[in-house]
């Protein structure tokens, strides 16, 4: 069935429509103008879809938690998602990677729903799709705009990436960012994208373990380090390097103060490097406020994430998080003061 009631809207090329729009006949002009408007709208929709994969998200049939886990069987990422091996409510697998991807994506869903009343990554019940066993000895996990992909690690430096709650929470939070402020993945906006992924990845782990800010380890990736790595984790929110002199990783490059910001072009302008600056600010906020980090600091950061935009930089992050703290807890409240002080400590 066609949805096009007037064939002229569907088949005429743009140059003919332009000429018709200049016709002396008002009826022809009206038809042409309507057709041009419709084409422009379709073009805008296509452009938006290209820029926002969020809009192409696969909604769950039931509009609530729905997880699908696929096995890529060590093939490359061009073969994503692979073979479906576990779906929502399905029996436990014998494969730990499958169960970890299932359990931790469910935990992430619960975290966002219970604390922020957010229904999945897009707040519309988007299905959480994970693929495990991506490529061979693949030392990585990534979000491809629609789903998560997890490597097994080489067994020397890294073990399987599903093993860590904060890794799974990090990747899924990239999905939340995509569906909210959609921060550009380069330079300062990219570092903020990584920062939110680290913050909520860490908070999901703390929430699961019922750890206060004072008790939390504030490390990213400690569970995926294999015996061959000297490093205890990949990143730390604290004012200390996560590792030094590691034969594979080298020295932790993350700065914790604005004066040390990386300005080179590697890593898309240092998105995994400069995230260390806002990460440390968040740690200071959470530990200054005290208690469970997800209760207050997490709420301030969640509200900030929703308020930023694609081009937001560090300065906008500072002003928006400060404003969020004042809105949520009051001007000059201990929470508001903690945010101001933390940003000052890291150079703002």
């Amino acid at each position: 069935m066609s949805c096009c009631h007037n064939p002229i809207h569907c088949i005429l090329p743009p140059y003919i429509l332009d000429r018709m729009a200049e016709s002396d006949d008002p009826k022809v002009r009206a038809i042409a103008v309507a057709a041009i408007a419709r084409s422009a709208s379709l073009r805008a929709t296509r452009t938006t879809l290209a820029q926002m994969p969020a809009m192409a998200a696969i909604p769950s049939a039931v509009g609530k938690k729905e997880r699908l886990v696929y096995d890529l069987k060590n093939r490359g990422s061009s073969f994503l998602p692979g073979t479906l091996v576990r779906r929502e409510g399905g029996a436990k697998s014998k494969d730990p990677a499958v169960n970890e991807a299932y359990d931790y994506s469910g935990l992430t869903y619960d975290f966002y729903l219970k604390l922020f009343n957010r229904n999945s990554l897009d707040d519309r019940g988007m299905t959480l799709i994970s693929s495990v066993h991506v490529a061979r000895k693949y030392n990585n996990a990534f979000w491809n705009g629609e789903q998560m992909a997890y490597g097994d690690g080489d067994g020397v430096i890294f073990t399987r990436f599903t093993k860590s709650i904060d890794v799974v929470g990090h990747e899924l939070t990239h999905g939340v960012v995509t569906h909210t402020c959609n921060l550009d993945y380069k330079n300062e906006s990219g570092a903020l994208n990584e920062h939110f992924a680290d913050v909520f990845g860490s908070l999901i782990k703390q929430w699961k373990k019922k750890q206060t800010a004072a008790k939390a380890d504030w490390l990213i990736g400690p569970d995926i380090m294999a015996p061959g790595a000297k490093a205890k984790a990949l990143r730390t929110f604290k004012d200390e390097p996560a590792y030094t002199g590691d034969p594979y990783l080298g020295d932790d490059p993350q700065p914790k103060h604005l004066k040390d910001k990386y300005t080179g072009g590697d890593d898309s302008g240092g998105v995994h490097i400069n995230s260390g600056i806002p990460n440390h600010a968040f740690f200071l906020v959470a530990t200054t406020i005290g208690g469970n980090a997800w209760d207050k600091a997490g709420r301030i950061w969640y509200r900030t994430m929703l308020a930023l935009n694609q081009k937001s930089d560090f300065n906008q992050m500072v002003s928006m998080s400060t404003q969020s703290a004042a809105t949520l807890f009051g001007n000059n409240s201990p929470e508001h003061k903690a945010v101001i002080k933390a940003w000052k400590t890291v150079g703002f």
């Binding site: 890294f158 990239h174 490059p253």
Partner: protein, 97 residues
């Protein structure tokens, strides 16, 4: 076009580690040279939707001048995959530039 020197860097990924290595053009076999030259005009071919994908950069000194091409996990051409594996294994941690 002849490749005189190849500098390879891998950055990004969940770990955000920067690693790299440098080889003479003579250390590339015919298939590797052919694959690199076939993609010499690809420029920066990155998947703008991917987050935490590893980025593979090839900087070549060639008889026609410097050439830089860049891919990520989702855009890496199949004919460069074996070379990336070989160079990744030979790479060590380096400072970002």
């Amino acid at each position: 076009m002849d490749i005189r020197k190849l500098r390879f860097r891998v950055s990004g990924g969940f770990a955000g580690v920067i690693r790299g290595t440098e080889v003479d053009g003579s250390a590339l076999d015919a298939g590797e040279r052919r694959a690199l030259l076939a993609h010499a005009h690809d420029g920066s071919a990155r998947d703008s939707h991917a987050r935490d994908a590893q980025v593979y950069a090839f900087e070549m000194d060639t008889s026609d001048g410097p050439v830089r091409i860049e891919f990520d996990d989702n855009t890496l051409p199949e004919d460069l995959a074996a070379l990336v594996d070989r160079l990744s294994a030979a790479s060590g941690p380096i400072k970002g530039k």
